[in-house]
Symmetry: C2
Subunit: 361 residues, 2 copies
DNA sequence: CTGAAAGCGCTTACAG
DNA sequence: CTGAAAGCGCTTACAG
């Protein structure tokens, strides 16, 4: 509790040499005074303006360093009419995926001076759009990162753009300009998973889709069908069931699939949570995985290794995608060196074979 | 993209009746002008000062409503020298617990105008304290919420207080003033779990502790020992193993415990992740749960129901605790009605019996 | 109960 | 390449 009164501080500030003894945080005025320049010039250094003599920049930089000066984001924000906050907007049924993504985004933001404000929302709520808009306005967000399925909502994106807010969408397919999207190759890798099952000898294969409205549902379904077709296998309508990317929905989908006669000998679930539901039902029915039933998931969330036997699944490079999204957002801000900004090369997901798949009996 | 030039806006603003047609966000000046008062009076209304005539307050309130006026948090923050941001500071090995807590905190913050900035950190890093301090200073945080084990670091809390930053600690024991802590009754409920095992007939019981340095480790260990003693059972040192609250640490602890002869017939793991590790080892050794081995976890994270058989565990009221922490933080801010602010009544954790416990063979 | 002045720490628009 | 003035949208300290 070393809160001194302000007058001694003023005095300390007045004696230039003592400025490092300031008890309060240094401001742009302190730096300007010590460097014998106007605050505007200091401002130019802060904002990396090219119109500052190199020597002046040097001198100012050193003084900043010495005082540990960091510009006040709040004051900058007020003057810029834009904050230094990034919003993470999501409505995702899979908690693990949200944390991982969040972690990746934070990695990408580290050291940039931007902070991450988390904003879960309910995309089915009738005031959803308005609520997100109010959030952006109120905080004058610098930018937002949209997780699927919210990232697939074109109307929402329109509303974000109208507000002059930058954004990056994370998704399973190219649904925007390269600088605004980070994608994975769901389709390709799901096809690989499908071929894996056929190559093991499966032909009666169940498919649990993601919920309608998710682009990833579409991509994974298309990839899966493609992969099977490449091996001459079809999935009859009876073996295609909708899920909701939740454990519970995996349970009921599996019940539907496994009650059929003849039973499928393998099931592909469009994410790990639903695959966990399949495990549950298999156990209840006394089916052994992978002897009686092969199971493949998608995401490689931690649960995939907690299950027994460990789940064959697809590893989404979630951390990397989150990080890339953050970097894309910052690219325009000078906060980060502009590397390969404009690309939208998909991040490769990898098929991970573990112990839940084997030849059918 | 309806960005008009500024002069027409000015004109619209000048004609009082047209003010609702403002294309930019309304400011305190707009409200003051329309209400025929000074901005200071509007400010008093915003800050709920009692020194405003009721009629004046009414009139100003209506105008605010009509224009959809929301004070700019950035400008308020600059003037207040304190932002309207809450930091969530954590270094927790359990992702699921972090998300849940985050969700609870956001529930508690909803509608308050405060936003949540997430800040994972590494408590073992040598610049950890300094880094957190810089974060608080830079963002002039209104307050922070500390998750275990970071919440148990008294030196960190001291540093936070020095900065005039409010805080709430979430923990397993009373380690601060009631207004600064939200706790659960780990000790009591762990004792209950212990008695449950003895009552089933177990006497050779393994215990996997949390990592040294976590207060919850201590509480759960003490509770467990107490519970067993209440039934006249002791845990020999050989059956007490340290874990790290991670799946991997659960695996190695279980290997250590289950390789002993005679084997324990039951294992209590101090969290679900480690219990999942126990399941893994049991499977590998061909032990059936609960026939050959009873297992109890702690946390009731989603994985506890994904495991087979579903895990007997302790449900931590994480959402509720997160929400309570947020409300405690806001209480001093007038943003929320002051209910039972000063208490530190522990949030009751509940023992949940599922299918991983049974009498020993 | 209300207001005029100054200030929070920065940037923009303009001038040189 | 540099600076003086005005302003971002709010609050504090003071006065009445």
């Amino acid at each position: 509790m070393t809160r001194s009164s302000s007058s001694p501080l003023r005095k300390a500030g007045a004696k230039l040499g003592d400025a490092t003894a300031l008890k309060r945080r240094a401001t742009i005025n302190d730096i300007a005074r010590l460097a014998n320049v106007s605050k505007k010039t200091v401002s130019r250094v802060i904002n990396q303006s090219p119109f500052v003599k190199e020597e002046t920049r040097q001198r100012i930089g050193e003084i900043m360093q010495e005082l540990g000066y960091v510009p006040d984001p709040q004051a900058r924000g007020l003057a810029f009419r834009r904050s230094f906050l990034i919003g993470l907007i999501y409505d995702n049924p899979n908690a693990q995926m949200v944390v991982n993504m969040q972690q990746g985004v934070l990695d990408g933001l580290r050291g940039s001076g931007f902070e991450l404000v988390v904003h879960p929302c309910n995309r089915l709520d009738k005031s959803f759009m308005q609520e997100v808009g109010a959030f952006i306005d109120r905080q004058k967000l610098y930018g937002v990162i949209l997780l699927p399925p919210v990232s697939e909502n074109d109307k929402l994106v329109e509303l974000i753009e109208e507000r002059g807010c930058r954004y990056v969408r994370i998704g399973s397919a190219v649904l925007d300009e390269p600088e605004n999207i980070v994608i994975s190759n769901d389709r390709l890798v799901t096809a690989e998973a499908a071929r894996h099952l056929v190559d093991l000898g499966h032909t009666r294969i169940g498919f649990i889709a993601g919920p309608p409205g998710f682009r990833s549902r579409k991509e994974r379904e298309a990839g899966f069908i493609e992969g099977l077709r490449a091996r001459g296998v079809e999935v009859p309508a009876a073996l295609r069931v909708d899920g909701a990317y939740t454990y519970e929905s995996g349970v009921s989908a599996a019940q539907q699939l496994l009650s059929q006669n003849p039973r499928p000998t393998a099931i592909f679930a469009s994410n790990d949570e639903m695959a966990a539901g399949v495990y549950h039902v298999a156990r209840q029915m006394g089916l052994s995985i992978p002897k009686d039933l092969s199971v493949v998931g998608f995401d490689d969330t931690p649960v995939s290794r907690r299950l027994w036997p460990p789940l064959t699944t697809v590893r989404w490079p979630i951390l990397e995608m989150g990080q890339a999204a953050a970097e894309k957002l910052l690219r325009a801000s000078n906060a980060v060196a502009p590397t390969n900004g404009g690309e939208a090369r998909p991040f490769p997901a990898h098929f991970v074979v573990r112990d839940s798949t084997a030849p059918p009996l």
